[in-house]
């Protein structure tokens, strides 16, 4: 088996695993939130969610029927031996995972408007690249991006006069509309940057950060906490049906901005936040950081 085939197999297997089992940080947070709900309705909803995740593992089936579009966030060292093959190999891995797991066929070619039946197409899976100089490692976040949660996000550019007050309003306004229908409790990703697309990209990147992590900037971290408490206080609860907690966390990612623009974007991961995180060294020895107990 070539190294390319080996890595393809490993990614396919890992992607399949993430369709059936949530990452450790998400499970821990859902357990914590479950214990803090007191209404009978919220309790029934959490009981169902936990029973579903148990059954998914037991019966070896994807836990949610929407297995999304696969999106990969790749932090690849310039010296990683398979860098040239990576994008093709990820596509191949998705095809493999689609038939082995099985995953739903979620790739429709635009304009020609037909489902490819393979879960990949022109530009799907999505691959976001971060190139890391002087490194021979490759770090990959895998993500199953669902049609009702993380694919429809929102971004716009505010005028500086609107300030961070405007950012707050932008995020909270989306929570009672978009967030409500995205299967709370949510992980909320917020991008604050200089343009519409940089903010949008960061709002997605923010969802790759573990739950409970904080932005290194003190004010940004404070805003994460304020937004988290504020969204919880709206009372959306699990599934938007009402309850004490509606978010697993708020992660803000930021860059500098042009003096006359504040780019802001919000993107949410649903309770079924199927994010994986795996690191390969140059010989394809790998470490899985998101899920305990994965064996290759």
């Amino acid at each position: 088996m070539t190294q390319v085939e080996k890595m393809t197999d490993m990614i396919a297997k890992f992607v399949g695993h993430t369709a059936k089992k949530l990452p450790d940080d998400v499970i821990a947070k859902l357990q914590e939130l479950r214990a803090k709900e007191d209404s009978p309705m919220a309790k029934v909803i959490y009981d169902t969610m936990f029973r579903n995740q148990e059954l998914a593992v037991k019966l070896d089936r994807p836990s949610c029927q929407d297995t999304g579009v696969l999106q990969f966030w790749v932090k690849c060292g310039t010296k990683f031996p398979l860098i040239d093959d990576l994008e093709a190999l990820l596509k191949e891995a998705v095809i493999k995972a689609t038939f082995e797991t099985p995953l739903r066929h979620n790739s429709v070619e635009t304009f020609d408007e037909y489902n490819t039946g393979k879960n990949v197409g022109k530009g799907t899976p999505t691959v976001f690249w971060d190139i890391v100089p002087h490194s021979d490692k490759c770090e990959i976040y895998t993500y199953m991006a669902g049609g009702g949660c993380t694919l429809p996000g929102y971004a716009m550019v505010l005028m500086p006069g609107e300030g961070y007050e405007g950012v707050t309003k932008f995020v909270l306004d989306r929570m009672t509309t978009y967030g409500l229908n995205a299967c709370p409790p949510l992980l909320v990703g917020v991008g604050v940057a200089t343009s519409v697309e940089t903010a949008a990209l960061l709002s997605k990147k923010a969802l790759m950060r573990p739950i409970g992590s904080h932005n290194p900037n003190e004010r940004a971290a404070k805003m994460e906490k304020l937004l988290e408490d504020g969204i919880n206080a709206i009372g959306l609860g699990p599934q938007g049906m009402g309850g004490n907690y509606a978010v697993m966390g708020v992660n803000i990612e930021n860059t500098a901005r042009h003096p006359s623009a504040i780019g802001v974007a919000v993107n949410v991961g649903c309770w079924s936040h199927r994010r994986g995180h795996i690191i390969f060294d140059k010989d394809l020895n790998c470490e899985v950081l998101s899920h305990s107990g994965v064996k290759f």
């Binding site: 009978p40 309705m41 029934v44 909803i45 169902t48 969610m49 029973r51 579903n52 059954l55 998914a56 019966l59 089936r61 994807p62 836990s63 949610c64 029927q65 929407d66 099985p102 739903r104 009702g148 500086p160 300030g163 961070y164 007050e165 950012v167 707050t168 309003k169 909270l172 306004d173 929570m175 009672t176 409500l180 229908n181 299967c183 004010r219 404070k222 805003m223 304020l226 937004l227 504020g230 969204i231 206080a233 709206i234 009372g235 959306l236 699990p238 599934q239 938007g240 049906m241 009402g242 649903c270 309770w271 079924s272």
Partner: protein
């Protein structure tokens, strides 16, 4: 009697009458046993806009807004297995739902998220309810399906086919529109928006970073 209580669970058993739904209120949690048919966008359009007769009898029974993953066991003899099924956004069917309920006589509509006046008027006028099943729980829902009894309008492809299922204690279902026409999500949204505005004001006081 079409409402049974078992282990403290309220179970609606098809066929269901308008009378059976009388005491069921928004926010109640119920389960469904009996006949449940998946039915979504194009099927609604065929019934309402094209006036075609629905090939599965849903009168006094239930429909589910969903596109499932099905595994064929013996497709020539109509044998299939439900692998995974979860609700899809009900709001897409809102436009058709008043006429759909009127024409078909369906009693229980199950989906994801809220619906609006067309559906709440239908529920009130014809004695029906809309419920949501917590989304993202495809395996729980699939194991409640005992058998796929028949599959109609298969020309629509797997997600849109009418999969008529015999289900056992399918749920939990949270009643979002009751047969009086009360709408859980619409009532909740008023509360949510009020609290949201309070929170925006409160947080804004603490994020005046541009001075």
């Amino acid at each position: 009697m079409s409402v049974e209580i078992r282990d403290g669970k309220k179970i609606l058993v098809t066929p269901i009458s308008a009378e059976d739904l009388k005491d069921i209120k928004i926010g109640d949690i119920v389960y469904l046993s009996g006949s449940l048919t998946t039915c979504r966008d194009v099927a609604h359009r065929r019934v309402v806009e094209e006036g075609r007769e629905i090939p599965v009898d849903v009168r006094n029974n239930a429909i589910l807004h969903a596109g499932p993953i099905i595994r064929p066991i013996d497709p020539d003899n109509g044998k299939f297995e439900m692998v995974s099924v979860g609700p899809t956004t009900s709001m897409r069917m809102e436009k058709f739902e008043y006429d759909f309920v009127k024409i078909t006589g369906v009693r229980v509509i199950i989906g994801k998220g809220g619906m609006k006046e067309n559906t709440s008027n239908a529920c009130k006028d014809f004695g029906a309810i809309h419920c949501v099943i917590p989304a993202g729980n495809a395996v729980v829902a699939a194991v409640c399906v005992e058998e796929i009894v028949k599959a109609e309008w298969r020309d629509l492809g797997m997600p849109e086919t009418l999969w008529n299922c015999r289900v056992k204690e399918f749920g939990p279902l949270i009643v979002s529109i009751d047969s009086q026409g009360r709408n859980y999500f619409e009532e909740k949204k008023i509360e949510y928006n009020k609290r949201k505005d309070e929170q925006v004001a409160k947080i804004s006081e603490q994020v005046k970073f541009i001075k």
